[in-house]
Symmetry: C2
Subunit: 314 residues, 2 copies
């Protein structure tokens, strides 16, 4: 056996293609197709799916039907359905819809935060506090995740200090986040910086550290996942067919590709509960809906190795 520390025995791939993927492309996918996607994803073993985003419809018309998609998701047994919320208003809609989890993104880059959210990171922390109060007052069980983005740098500001990322993560926890996560929003991370920052984040947040979100803009997403796995992280966002892209790099990859990540994890013996053949079939179906949009990934073309054996959960 390797001298490296053992990897987690199982991991969760949280599907974000319906949110981070679809919001980044021009094609509008109709609600009934999103529901079909959900149904087939659950059938393929996907237990956690980010089904949409409660942002103003004017900003992201692709997400206008999030309430309906969430309502449908609630009918699928065993599915843990999350949504992205940019603020208290979005959070109220997530609570109304009985989402299992709502993710409030925070940008650790002050300049990115001001440009994209028109708030400083600390104002976002304060908003999380208000969301926590609203959740507690509602009596709902919806969990609150504070997601620290641009955690490895930013296309506007450039460097983002690790100390600032960790300070904001602690502030989110203090303000009432049930969980926190880290995102390499623009594909600046490398396995070394991932090891370093995730090790500190896991130390800081313990069990409340829940997820790594990697973009494959510069091809390092799977290597970065592997580095985070070595720090004990066992939940990763991913997008079917790598749908998405990067607004700052036209044609570049989006989130790490779900089916490629599933292959890497299962090949290493990290059980995901996913049926990779079913995922590949779903990839093919969804790709057909968004023809002309860039898709990514390699497994769909190469197929599984002859020797492939899925991981078995301990």
């Amino acid at each position: 056996m390797s001298s490296l520390r053992p990897l987690p025995g199982k991991a969760v791939i949280r599907e974000v293609g319906m949110r981070d993927g679809l919001q980044s492309i021009a094609t509008l996918v109709p609600t009934e197709r999103k529901c079909e996607w959900l149904r087939n994803a659950v059938a393929a073993g996907q237990g956690e799916i980010e089904v949409g985003s409660f942002v103003p419809p004017k900003l992201l018309p692709q997400m206008v039907d999030t309430a309906e998609v969430l309502a449908y998701a609630r009918t699928l047994p065993g599915l843990f359905a999350s949504v992205l919320v940019p603020n208290l208003k979005g959070a109220e809609r997530a609570l109304d819809g009985d989402a299992d989890l709502m993710l409030l993104p925070l940008s650790a880059s002050h300049q990115h935060s001001l440009a994209n959210l028109r708030k400083t990171p600390d104002e976002v922390v304060a908003e999380l506090g208000r969301i926590r109060a609203a959740r507690d007052a509602s009596g709902k069980k919806t969990l609150i995740e504070g997601g620290v983005g641009t955690a490895f740098g930013c296309t506007i500001q450039g460097e983002v200090k690790e100390s600032e990322v960790l300070r904001l993560m602690q502030a989110l926890l203090d303000a009432g986040a049930d969980r926190v996560s880290l995102a390499d929003t623009v594909g600046y991370a490398d396995p070394n910086s991932v090891s370093r920052l995730f090790e500190q984040a896991v130390k800081l947040a313990g069990e409340r550290f829940c997820c790594g979100h990697f973009h494959d803009t510069r091809g390092l997403a799977l290597a970065n996942v592997y580095a985070a796995l070595q720090q004990g992280v066992s939940r990763f966002d991913a997008s079917l067919a790598g749908i998405g892209g990067c607004p700052h790099a036209p044609g570049a990859s989006g989130n790490v590709c779900t089916e490629d990540l599933a292959f890497m994890l299962e090949a290493m013996g990290v059980a995901t509960g996913l049926d990779i053949d079913a995922l590949l079939a779903l990839r093919s179906e969804v790709s057909g809906w968004i023809q002309g949009e860039p898709t990514h990934g390699t497994l769909w073309r190469a197929g599984l190795p002859r020797t492939f054996q899925p991981g078995v959960a301990a």
Copy 2:
């Protein structure tokens, strides 16, 4: 700092695009362009290049000018020029041409070996012994590398046992190989299997273990390099623009992409001596020569991060 073991401070990317890349595509690149490639690669900091293969011209017309390309390579100061040789006959041509190194590939998969080389792996070991005798008799300084391929499995045979890979590696060393290396010829490796096998290979061969050769068929090449780096390996084969492909998976990626690998290493502080901008310019030039052939990689599209700082050799 991370609790993981430190990575090597520097690493060598051995360019194999002119051999493994060009031999896998239909387009014939003229000799003068290969020489231009060599010249510009050296100018970009590439110090080790596999310039061709001494195989029968009927088998690989793309490699027919290997002797001329090697002769040109010998005129470039500081370039360590290697060639692939399938047998003693090829080795004699490598010695005639004063190659710095000749790589004899061995397939650890018996079925692959019989199908591709019409020899058992142990017959290839015996051939290496004859090559060693010829080299010693010639008085030349050409190094002999025994490369163990299909080390992680094979599309024909399926499983290849680690014990058999290591037995053959030891046999190559015993037969007189100056160096040995491991290749994931068909893209079956994952970071876990890489950690495990490379750890044992490094233990077995020590300083004589020289290189990891990864194909990106299923997108894991960079993650696999990172796993091998953690075992102290510091030389990797790579192909500019990821030129190549996989005969068993049409359209699939070939070797790990040189410029993406250079980015990953430098971003992690592992110095390569490479000028990434110059590599990207060369990629663009070479891609133009082979229009219509698949190329791969991500960095050319996304560009370097704003925060990028090259590694500095200790």
